[in-house]
Amino acid sequence: MSKKTYMEAIREGIYEEMKKDSRLFMIGEDVGPYGGEMGLSKGLWEAFGDERVRDFPIAESLILGAGLGASLVGARAIAEIPFCDFMGMCMDQLYNQAAKMHYMFGGQAKIPLLIRTPIGGYQGGAEQHSQCLEAWFAHIPGLKVVMPSNAYDAKGLLMTSLKDNNPVMFIEHKKLYQIADEVPDNYYEVPFGKANVIQEGSDVTVIATSYMVYLCKKALTGLEEEGINAELIDPRTLVPFDEECLLESIKKTGRLVIVQEAWRRCSFASEIASVAAEKGFRFLKEPVKIVAAQNVPIPFSPVLENFVLPSPEKIRKAVLDVMRR
C-alpha cells in the first residue's frame, strides 16, 4: 500500500501487465516519448520501446481498428483516445466492429482490446473537450463499460479489464487524475459488475459515477448531523451493472438520487431511473431525482460551465428535495 494518484495507479497497472505479457502493447496519439496528452503514459516508452508504446497518427478510426485487428491475431491492445469527445471519429470501429464481432462471428473472435479515454469538464475545456459519452457506449451490446472513481478502483478495474477477452471501454476522468489514494503495490483485481457501497445509509440512496462520486462525498458531508442517512453507491462498471445492489439499497431507503456529469436524456441516469421504475417501483416512496448536466453543450466560460454541470450544492439540494426538507 502506498499513496498513488489515479493516474499513477493506472500507469502502474499498465506497466506491470506489459512487463508480464509481451503481447500487450499500447497505441495512441503522443503516447510515446511525450507520455500522452494527459501525461499518463510517461515512462512506458522508455521501458518498453517504440513498437510496444507507439505514437500513432492523429487518426482515431485507425487507432481503434488497429487495436482491434491486433487483438484478433493474438496480441493484446490498449488504445488511448486523448479525449472522450473525439470518440465520434471512431464510433464505427467501436460499435459496428469491436462490439459486435464476437457475437456476429458466432463466438470465434477473442478481443482483448482495452480502450482508454478521459471524460469530463470543470476545466474550461469548452464544448469539444468536456463531454461524458458513456451512455453511447453502454447503449451498444458487446462492450463492457468501466468508470473508476478513485485510484484504488482504477488500478483494480484496469487489471480486470486487461484480463478480459472482450472490448472494454475504460473511462477515466480528467479531474480525478491527480487525486491520490491508498493503492496496493501488488496485483489485485476489482471485479466487474460489483458496485461499491461507499457509505451506508437508510434514508436515501445516492448513486453516482466517476468524478461525481467525489462530488457526492462532499455534498453528503454533514447531512448526518441534519438527520439524513444517505447511502452512497458507486456502480464502478456501467456494463455489467450491479442492479441487485441498487435494488437492495432502494428497498431499504425508498428514495433515489442519481448523479452523473453527462447530459440526462437517454443517459445512464435515465437507465438507472428506468430500472427503479420497472423493478424497484414498489420500494420507492418518493419520485426519483436526477442530477445531471443541463441540456446544452458544455460552455467555455467558467461561470457558465459551473452553472451547467453538477455541483455539491446541486446534489445536496436534490437529496434534501427527496427528503422533503
Binding site: 503481447r23 497518427p57 484478433l72 470501429q93 463466438g107 458487446g142
Partner: protein, 321 residues
C-alpha cells in the same frame, strides 16, 4: 513468369469454385432460400484467387460485403459458408452473421464486413499485431473502389507505410460503388496513383487476368514478408451481376457488360489450361465435376441443417472463457 502448371490449375479450380458457388447462391436467393442481402463476386474471381494464391494458411485477410470470393480463395469451408447464408446453426457464425459477416479465424479470415472500408483499419491492426508477436505472416486487405474514398482508407494506407507493416492493400476496382461510377466521384480514377503520396508502392493490374494478379501479388507479398513493406494493388475488374442480388441494374449498358464478359477470367484461363499449361482436358473435366459435387453437397448440407434455436440469439455476446 515462373508459375507452375499445378498452381495455375489450382487457381482455375478456385475461380470456378467461387463462380459455381455464387451462381447457385444467386438461384437460391431468387428462390427465397437465403434471407437478407447478398452481394455477388461473379466476374471478379481472378482478384481474390490470384491474391490468395500467394498467401499461406497462417496469413490473414480482411474482406468486404462482397466477400464470398475472398473467403473461398483463402480456404473457407463451402458447407459452413452456405449454411451461414441460409441462416442455419451449422454455418460459420451459427446463423448469427449471414453473408456479410462470415469469418474463419482459424483460416486467417478476419471477416467479411458490412461497413464499406470497415475492414481496412482492422487489417492495419492485424499487421501491427503480427509485428508485436514477431511473426512473419502477412495481411491482405480487400476493399472496393468505393471504399477507397472513405477516410479509413487514407488513415490505414498512411499508417501502414509509416510503420512499415507487412500489409498488402488490394483495391478491387469494379468501376462502381453501387451505381456510382468511380470517375463521377474522383478526379483521378487511376487509384494506384494514390500510393505515392504515402511513400508506398502502387501497382495497377488487369484484374480479369489471374496470372497477372498472381504475379503482382507475389512480388508484393514477398516484400511484405521479407522486408515488412506494404503495397497497394489496384485490380481493374467488373461484376457481372447487380450490386446486390435482386437489383435492377440501370447504371451500365449491356455493351459495357458484354465487353467485360469477353474478358471473363475463368473462360480465359480455361482456354490456356491445355496449351501452354499442359493440363489434360480429362483432368480439367474431372476437377470441374468435383467442384459441382462439392457445391451440391454444400447446398445439401445447408438444406439439411437445422435453424438455430430462437434462444441461441441470447448467447455468445461475450467471450466468457
Amino acid at each position: 513468369m515462373n508459375i507452375s502448371p499445378e498452381k495455375v490449375f489450382e487457381m482455375y479450380k478456385t475461380m470456378l469454385r467461387i463462380r459455381r458457388f455464387e451462381e447457385n447462391v444467386s438461384k437460391l436467393y431468387a428462390k427465397g432460400k437465403i434471407p437478407g442481402f447478398v452481394h455477388l463476386y461473379i466476374g471478379e474471381e481472378a482478384v481474390a484467387t490470384g491474391v490468395c494464391a500467394c498467401l499461406d494458411p497462417t496469413d490473414y485477410i480482411t474482406s468486404t460485403h462482397r466477400g464470398h470470393g475472398h473467403l473461398i480463395a483463402k480456404g473457407g469451408d463451402l458447407k459452413k459458408m452456405m449454411a451461414e447464408l441460409y441462416g442455419k446453426r451449422t454455418g460459420y457464425c451459427g446463423g448469427k452473421g449471414g453473408s456479410m459477416h462470415i469469418a474463419d479465424l482459424s483460416m486467417g479470415i478476419l471477416g467479411a464486413n458490412g461497413i464499406v472500408s470497415g475492414g481496412i483499419p482492422i487489417s492495419v491492426g492485424a499487421a501491427y499485431g503480427l509485428k508485436i508477436l514477431k511473426k512473419d505472416n502477412v495481411v491482405v486487405s480487400f476493399f472496393g473502389d468505393g471504399a477507397s474514398n472513405e477516410g479509413n482508407f487514407h488513415e490505414s494506407m498512411n499508417a501502414a507505410a509509416a510503420f512499415k507493416l507487412p500489409l498488402v492493400f488490394v483495391c478491387e476496382n469494379n468501376q462502381f460503388g453501387v451505381s456510382t461510377r468511380i470517375d463521377r466521384i474522383t478526379n483521378n480514377s487511376d487509384l494506384a496513383k494514390r500510393a505515392e503520396g504515402y511513400g508506398m508502392k502502387g501497382i495497377r493490374v488487369d484484374g480479369t487476368d489471374v496470372l497477372k494478379v498472381y504475379e503482382a501479388t507475389e512480388d508484393a507479398v514477398e516484400r511484405a514478408r521479407k522486408e515488412s513493406l506494404p503495397a497497394f494493388i489496384v485490380a481493374d475488374t467488373f461484376r457481372h451481376h447487380g450490386h446486390f442480388e435482386g437489383e435492377n441494374v440501370t447504371y451500365w449498358d449491356k455493351n459495357e457488360l458484354e465487353a467485360w464478359k469477353e474478358k471473363d477470367p475463368i473462360v480465359r484461363l480455361r482456354k490456356n489450361l491445355t496449351i501452354p499449361f499442359g493440363i489434360s482436358e480429362e483432368i480439367i473435366k474431372m476437377a470441374e465435376n468435383d467442384i459441382e459435387a462439392e457445391i451440391s453437397s454444400a447446398i445439401s448440407f445447408a438444406e439439411d441443417s437445422e435453424y438455430p434455436e430462437a434462444e441461441d440469439a441470447l448467447t455468445g455476446l461475450y467471450w466468457e472463457r
